[in-house]
């Protein structure tokens, strides 16, 4: 068998059962770092957010960030975890220049939160994912590899390191092994990370931007022959940085491992790298070789002992969680599962909910966000939430339509104007002159002109060929630049020509 052989997914699933495991890292959105007061701004010039503590200069000592501890406990509670009554930080020792200390402060056998679960919906079914642990550690610096052809560490001449990120609080969330997902394994993995991201957002603990690395996922996959009871050897695919990649990485690793196993080979326990361009993984360093971190309790920090009464307060103050909220909104808005899924995929819940809160009927709010605005977002390649229009403005447009001041066509023009920076909906209506022609006198004058200009068509209608009226209505709409009420125009045309439907 050559390296890189894949077994078609369907065949792989006929012969093998996958077991998944997911490790997710979430960078907390605290103002300052985990153990020092340096800022955490993303994209700051290199080495401008560093101090003696996060550079590990002699004599500097860490002090834990209270907000990071609180956020981690809230994450644990949202994931139905038990919270440790007493736990410690630990040193994870390793030689790699991304940490100036030559160790990372992490947690080892005493995580802050443990033994929880998260329910995710996949194809209308609820899958319960066990949570092994949620612990707190510090992020590492960012290395750039210089001199190699590809910017990768392999073949590089040397590396340069920016320690701005070193010491930013990082929460690691580890699932229990997830068996029994069968052919839905890639979907389950994606649904889990999606749900986790939403929970982080609702808690307000992180901006969870996968493209900026504030949410990162490592995907563990193993296969066992159908009917076997013993799990196979797993691989860990690192830093899979989009939801789509999570799904693709699981799928690709299933296809690769199946091909190796079917050929009589064995899976090596190793770290693998995911490649966005091909959607496949390649071997990294061997795991056994890399793992000897000689953890020991961090002597520079005292233990954490969260007061159970405080933990209970945090639990009581948790916001409504995304899955609960979705069920509530679905009931309130009377939407189908399919509609909900589409809104979920478009990240439209917040926007529609805010639009409804601003006074729009739910059906209208959904219609505009999922229709015209989703189309615009798609065209310009920006997320829906980043369109230059507010929920209140969308609500105003629905109000103008409901009152008869705008029809849908004009409303689309108003939206276009608002998105183009022409001002509020009312300003756009005013500036572009987009009100529906409600003035019967004005409409009548337009119709008279259209009838005069289209005498042939008018005669046909007079002779009883009602179908010819369509062209006249079209003429009125053109003459009014779309601002006439088409139904009323038709009524008036027929009246003027002395015929009825």
């Amino acid at each position: 068998m050559t390296a890189g052989t894949l077994m078609p997914y369907d065949e792989a699933l006929e012969r093998f059962e996958p077991v998944l495991g997911l490790e997710t890292h979430v960078e907390l959105g605290t103002r300052s770092k985990m153990f020092c007061g340096c800022k955490t701004t993303f994209g700051a010039p290199p080495n401008t957010q560093v101090c003696p503590t996060c550079l590990a200069l002699p004599g500097a000592l860490p002090v834990a960030n209270a907000m990071a501890i609180e956020s981690t406990i809230r994450i644990g509670l949202a994931l139905n975890c038990s919270i440790a009554e007493w736990c410690r930080f630990a040193r994870k020792n390793y030689f790699y220049p991304d940490m100036p200390k030559n160790y990372q402060i992490s947690q080892y056998d005493e995580p802050l939160c443990f033994d929880g679960y998260l329910d995710v919906e996949v194809n209308g079914e609820t899958v319960r994912i066990g949570i092994e642990r949620v612990h707190l550690e510090e992020d590492t610096g960012k290395s750039t590899h210089v001199g190699g052809a590809t910017g990768r560490i392999h073949g590089a001449d040397h590396s340069i390191v920016d320690y701005n990120r070193a010491g930013i609080p990082l929460v690691e969330i580890v699932t229990k092994p997830i068996p029994g997902t069968d052919r839905l394994a890639p979907d389950v993995a994606r649904a889990y990370v999606t749900e986790l991201r939403e929970i982080m957002r609702s808690l307000g603990v992180s901006d969870v931007r996968m493209e900026e690395g504030s949410l990162r996922c490592d995907v563990n996959v193993s296969l066992m022959p159908r009917g076997a009871s013993e799990w196979g050897t797993r691989t860990e695919t690192k830093n899979v940085n989009s939801l789509r990649s999570v799904e693709r990485a699981v799928r690709s690793e299933i296809e690769r491992q199946a091909a190796v196993l079917a050929d009589g080979g064995t899976i090596v326990q190793e770290t693998r790298h995911f490649h966005e361009d091909t959607g496949t993984t390649t071997s990294g360093r061997s795991k056994e070789e890399a793992q000897d971190y000689r953890y020991f309790p961090e002597p520079d920090l005292v233990p954490i002992a969260p007061d159970p009464a405080w933990v209970a307060e945090l639990k009581a103050a948790l916001p409504e969680l995304p899955s609960v909220r979705r069920k509530r909104l679905q009931a309130e808005w009377g939407l189908s599962d399919l509609d909900m899924q589409a809104m979920h995929n478009a990240d439209a819940f917040d926007l529609v909910e805010a639009t409804v809160a601003a006074g729009a009927p739910a059906a209208d709010a959904r219609k505009w966000w999922m229709g015209e605005l989703a189309r615009r977002a798609n065209e310009t390649g920006v997320p829906l939430a980043e369109l230059a229009i507010t929920p209140a403005q969308v609500a105003r447009v629905t109000e103008l339509v409901a009152s008869g001041a705008l029809n849908d066509k004009l409303a689309r023009e108003v939206l276009e104007g608002v998105l183009g920076g022409e001002g509020s909906p009312d300003e756009v209506v005013e500036a572009r002159g987009l009100q529906i022609v409600n003035d019967e006198g004005e409409l009548s004058a337009i119709i008279d002109k259209v009838l005069a200009d289209n005498a042939d068509a008018a005669d046909k209608v007079r002779a009883g060929k009602i179908a010819a009226a369509g062209a006249l209505v079209g003429g009125v709409m053109r003459a009014s630049k779309g601002k006439a009420d088409a139904a009323r125009a038709r009524q008036l045309i027929l009246e003027k020509l002395g015929v009825s439907e």
Binding site: R31, S32, C38, A68, S143, T144, V146, V161, V302, A305
Partner: protein, 99 residues
Amino acid sequence: MSAITRDEVAHLARLSRLALTDDELDHYATQLDAIIESVAKVAEVAAEDVPPSSHALPLTNVFRADEARPSLTPEQALSGAPAVEDDRFQVPRILGEEA
């Protein structure tokens, strides 16, 4: 005969990026053994009712408020670095040193 083997010392030395000679491996095996024996004596006096301790201070929950404070300037931060490139710490090739 040491309880700590030469192989264990060699493993530790490799993890710590120390190049030790054969003589040094034997030397440190004996020394580490003596240290571990001495530390083990603590276990002899620790009674059942004494919980294990990892810290000299009888404190828990020492936290700081989440407030940003001024950092060093990049010039200060990089002033002790042996080599600098593009305001970053330059380090030797990472992979290949173990090959």
